[in-house]
Each structure stands twice: as C-alpha cells, then as structure tokens.
C-alpha cells in the first residue's frame, strides 16, 4: 500500500504529465483528466490487481479497466506509464502521427494496458459489462473497473448497461463517475439537467457510493466498500465528487478547460503551482 503522501506525489506528477503532454501536442483534454487524476492514481497504485509485466488484452487472472470517457487519455496514459506499462518518455509522443498514444485509446497500435478502444461516449460501460460477464463465465475472480464522465452519462447506452449489469448480477463490476459537474458546453446542470445521479443509479439497482474524489482517505474508503460489494449480487457505482482542472487555480472548476490547451506562460504558472516531484518529468 502506498501512503497518502506517496499517492499525492504521484498525482502531482501525473497532473504535470497531463499539462506537458497537452501543451506539447497542442491538443487534448486536460480538464476531466485533472479531475480524475487522484481516482486513477489510487486505483492503479493501491487497488487494482494488475501486473504490467504479464499484461495481455484478455485480462486473464488480473483486474481490467475501461476508460469509458475516452477523451481523458492524458491522465490514463500518464498513470499507465507511471505504473510501468510503457516507458514514461513515450508520453512525449502523445497525439503525434504514428504514435501508440492516439488521441483516444486505441488497441490498433498495441499500447499495453488498453483493453478496448473508446472515445465515442457512452459505450465503455457496456464493454466493461461484457468483460465482467466473461470473467464470471470463466470463474475468474478478478474485477472490472470502468470510469465514466458525468456528461457522458447523458448517453442512453450508459443506462442500458446499467440495466444489464443489474440483471446479470455483475458484482465484480465497479463503475466510477468523475462527477465534476462540467462538460463541453457548460455545467452539466445547464446542459442536460442531470438531476440526482445517486438516486438514479440506486433506482437502477446498483450499490451506490458517494465519495470525495480529491481526498485519498475518502477514495480508499470508497474502493474498500466497492470491493466488499462482491457477493452482494449487485454492481457498484462510485460517484466521485471532483473538480474539473483540479490542482491549478486558473483551471479549476470551469468547463472552459475541458479541451483547451494552456498557453506557454500558463503552463509555466501551472507547473509552478503543482511543484516538482521526485519522480521527474518525462
């Protein structure tokens, strides 16, 4: 188990990676990446049962993860590389021609750690359901994790998956929502009127956990509760309350940073705010 201090250091480095990748590529999605940084850091470093050295796409004998909100590749690639799936230097190739680090997750370039392509929103949770059902059929005791966006959850297919997971008693499935309250065109409340997400998932028959997505104690507690859900016959949804652009003052809490690239002087400011870590930049 990593301590909260160590997780914090990794998270800080991941946020540095996110900003440096997006600035180098001059495109990409920093906002949601920074809101889900602490969740994915804790998941990959403290919770998931996985081994980069023996990773295969079929995920046999290991936990599996699907990034349903496929635009959050900056955080995903950074966490994967920091967890040992591929060299950290490769982060510098993000979104360039020929790179394994495609704009949205792709299985076509052979990037270790990626189980399925995603980026067309609303489809990843269904794939995660299939993985979870496959594991049950194989009597493979490991879990499937899946991260969705709150804007993404407007897609009808998310709710179709929600129904399927309950009907097939996928208690080896843990879905997470990066509940940052923002999407491209504005606050979620002003774009779709999301309503009460917790009540919706409960009505669908899921175990619902609400946690603070930037507090490692709360994150860890939520993951422990979710793991205990195995045997309950129900899938678990963790709604992580987060902040878009978390960690940098001028990026925090606004939808404007969903898919915008900081200017060079903004990058400098942001990196100063985050501070350096012992892990070092790519």
């Amino acid at each position: 188990m990593y301590s909260n201090e160590k997780l914090q250091e990794i998270s800080t480095q991941v946020r540095r990676d996110i900003l440096r990748m997006v600035c180098k590529a001059k495109s990409g999605h920093p906002g949601g990446s920074m809101s889900s940084t602490d969740i994915l850091t804790a998941l990959y470093f403290n919770v998931m049962k996985h081994d980069p050295a023996t990773w295969t796409r079929d995920g046999k004998g290991q936990d599996m993860f699907i990034l349903s909100a496929g635009h959050m590749t900056p955080v995903y690639y950074s966490v994967l590389s920091r967890a040992g799936y591929f060299p950290v230097e490769e982060l510098g190739t993000f979104r360039t021609f020929g790179a394994r680090l495609q704009g949205h997750p792709s299985i076509r370039k052979g990037l270790p750690g990626v189980f399925q392509a995603s980026g067309s929103l609303g489809q990843g949770l269904s794939a995660a359901c299939g993985l979870a059902l496959g594991k049950k059929m194989d009597k493979d005791d490991n879990r499937v994790w899946c991260l969705c966006g709150d804007g993404e959850s407007e897609e009808g297919q998310i709710w179709e998956a929600g129904m399927f997971a309950v009907f097939h008693k996928l208690d080896n499935l843990v879905a997470m929502t990066d509940w940052n309250g923002k999407q491209i065109d504005g606050p979620v409340s002003e774009v779709s009127g999301e309503g009460d997400l917790a009540a919706k998932w409960e009505a669908w028959g899921w175990n619902v956990i609400v946690a603070e997505g930037h507090d490692f104690d709360s994150i860890q507690q939520a993951f422990e509760l979710a793991k205990a859900g195995k045997g309950s016959g129900k899938p678990t949804m963790i709604l992580f309350k987060t902040e878009m652009g978390h960690g940098v003052d001028f990026m925090a809490g606004t939808h404007k940073w969903h898919g915008s690239v900081p200017k060079p002087e903004q990058l400098e400011d942001a990196l100063k705010q985050l501070g350096e870590t012992s892990l070092g930049d790519f």
């Binding site: 590529a25 495109s27 021609f97 790179a99 704009g103 392509a117 980026g119 067309s120 779709s192």
Partner: protein, 317 residues
C-alpha cells in the same frame, strides 16, 4: 487554366454557422439542436440570436434525432449538429427510421468529417458517413468545398423540403468560391474546362483537384475539374458530358473507398458510358492521430496523389 484565388483559409464549419444564422433570420421555422457541441458546430451566433429556437440535447444523439423528427412533424425546420460520426454511425437507425423513412424535414449538420479532424484519432474520424447516408432512400447528401459554399449550401438545405445530410470539416481550408452564389442541390459545377482527363471531387479535395490540374497543366495535360458538392442526387449529365470529351476520370474524396463519391461516379460510367476511372480516397483504412496535412499526405489525398492518378488513368484510355 481558370485561376482560383484562396481569399484566406477558413473552416467550413464556420461557414455552416454563418449559413445557419442567415437561414434562421430568413425563416422563423428554423431551429437548431446539438448534443453538447454548440461551439464545435459554430451554433453560438444562432443560439445568441434565437435562444428559444436553440435546443441543447446533452450528450444524447439518438434522442436528438428523434426529437428533431418530432419537431419537423410540427412544422419546424430542425438542423441537428454533432461530429460526423455521431450524427451518422452512432445514430444510423434513428436517422433511417425517424428521418429518412419517416420523411421528416430534418437537416443533419455533420462536422469534423474525415481524417482531417486530426489529433483526436480514429474514434472520431469517420470515413464511412457518405456511404451510410447515400444508402438511405431519398436522402440528399452534400459535401461543399469551402467556407462560402458551406454557408450557401446550408441556406439551400433550409429551403429544400426533405432530409438533407450536410457534411463539412474541422480544419481551415482555402476559401475560393463566390461569397453569395446560390447553391443548387443536385447541380455539379465545372470549375475548369479540360480535354484530357476529368477530375471529380467533393469537399475540400476540390481545392486539391484544382492544384493537381495546375501541376498537370505544367506537364501539358489539360484537366477538367468538377465540383460534385451534391453526392446524391448525382449530376449524371455533367459527368457524362465531361467524360465523352476526356475519356478518363479521377474521383477524389476524403472517404473510405467503399460507398462514397467514387463508387457513385463509377456506377454511372459502368452503366452509361464505360470509361476508365481511378480513385483517390482513404482506401479501406481507419484513420489515426496526426495533423491534418500529415494525414492528407499519409493517406494519399493531396494534389500530388490526384495528379498521379490522372497520369495513370490517361494511360488506360
């Protein structure tokens, strides 16, 4: 050959935005719907001018198509806008049932089409949308060549009664057609008259075709260039008139080899006037991450590749 001046690169999606506002001013029945991509579709000006006629649907494209069909039945003229993949492949059955089969007056505004969407990569780069939309009975399919023509085609789509698929893109491309030229659905434009080979193109590849014609002219080859902005219904008369003269055809499009403009044009010649045809398209490949220009070159869609196809087809006469 006829000279075309690029008056400054502009994105075709902005042409749509300007056209939508104009159409909205001319006709109070025009409404616009988007699925969390108001800015990307350049609907901001329309939404500011007509807030009560702008409908934000959230990230729920399937519902947006059905809702637009319902609005059309009540007499509105809905434009639904999202990325090309998400208003075609993502919702193909909704478009088929609610719009095409239902004969509802819905206009599908399809932005970020093709690989020149760029860095987002294959999940977002549809190269199959023309095929999907062409296959739907009576669907009008339009892929204008620049900012001005996209604006004018948007205005024409609003006036036309029936389903229209209007395809445009993300990057800035040369703007070279007249600012206020009426767009006639189903009528191709002969951009340059020639006698040795016909180059048929749609979308921003019309500019590439004109560049190719200049390259060929320097080699003594006189190319006729046709802007086939309406892919369906196809202007067969203009195609046949040209090929009777040149006896060799190249078709260029930013689309998969299957089901696009190339196969539509080849079908006409197979049936009515057997003529050698060469194809410049995205072959049978998915896209990938890269800059628009790097991808144009890598996938063989630029002027050099069109010129090479022209040289080749001439040898097949």
């Amino acid at each position: 050959m006829k000279k075309y001046i690029d008056t400054g690169k502009k994105d075709t999606r902005s042409g749509f935005g300007v056209g939508l506002l104009e159409a909205g001013k001319a006709d109070a029945r025009v409404v616009a719907l988007t699925a969390d991509l108001k800015g990307s579709l350049k609907m901001d000006a329309f939404a500011a001018e007509f807030p009560e006629r702008f409908i934000q649907c959230g990230i729920a494209e399937a519902n947006m198509v059905g809702a637009a069909a319902g609005l059309a039945i009540t007499g509105k003229v809905p434009f639904i806008g999202s990325f090309a993949e998400f208003v075609t492949g993502r919702v193909y059955d909704q478009v088929r049932q609610e719009v095409a089969y239902g004969k509802t007056n819905v206009k599908i505004a399809s932005s970020h089409a093709g690989i020149t969407l760029g860095e987002d990569g294959a999940t977002h780069q549809t190269m199959e949308d023309i095929a999907l939309m062409r296959a739907l009975p009576e669907m009008v399919v339009i892929n204008p060549c620049d900012f001005n023509q996209t604006k004018n085609a948007t205005i024409a789509a609003a006036k036309y009664v029936g389903p229209v698929y209007l395809r445009f893109g993300r990057p800035s491309v040369p703007n070279f057609t007249p600012e206020n030229e009426e767009f006639v659905i189903g009528k191709a434009q002969v951009m340059n008259e020639g006698k040795d080979v016909t180059i048929v193109a749609c979308g921003h590849l019309v500019w590439e075709a004109l560049q190719a014609a200049e390259i060929l002219e320097a080699e003594g080859i006189c190319a006729e260039v046709i802007n086939m902005a309406t892919i369906k219904p196809l202007d067969e008369e203009t195609l046949l008139t040209s090929a009777v003269k040149t006896k060799a055809v190249v078709v260029a499009e930013e689309h998969n080899m299957a089901g696009g403009l190339g196969e539509a044009v080849a079908g006409v010649f197979a049936r009515a006037l057997p003529t050698p045809v060469e194809f410049v398209n995205g072959k049978d490949l998915f896209g990938q991450t890269g800059t628009p220009s790097a991808l144009m070159e890598a996938y063989g869609l630029d002027a050099q590749h069109i010129a090479a196809a022209a040289r080749k087809v001439i040898t097949r006469k």
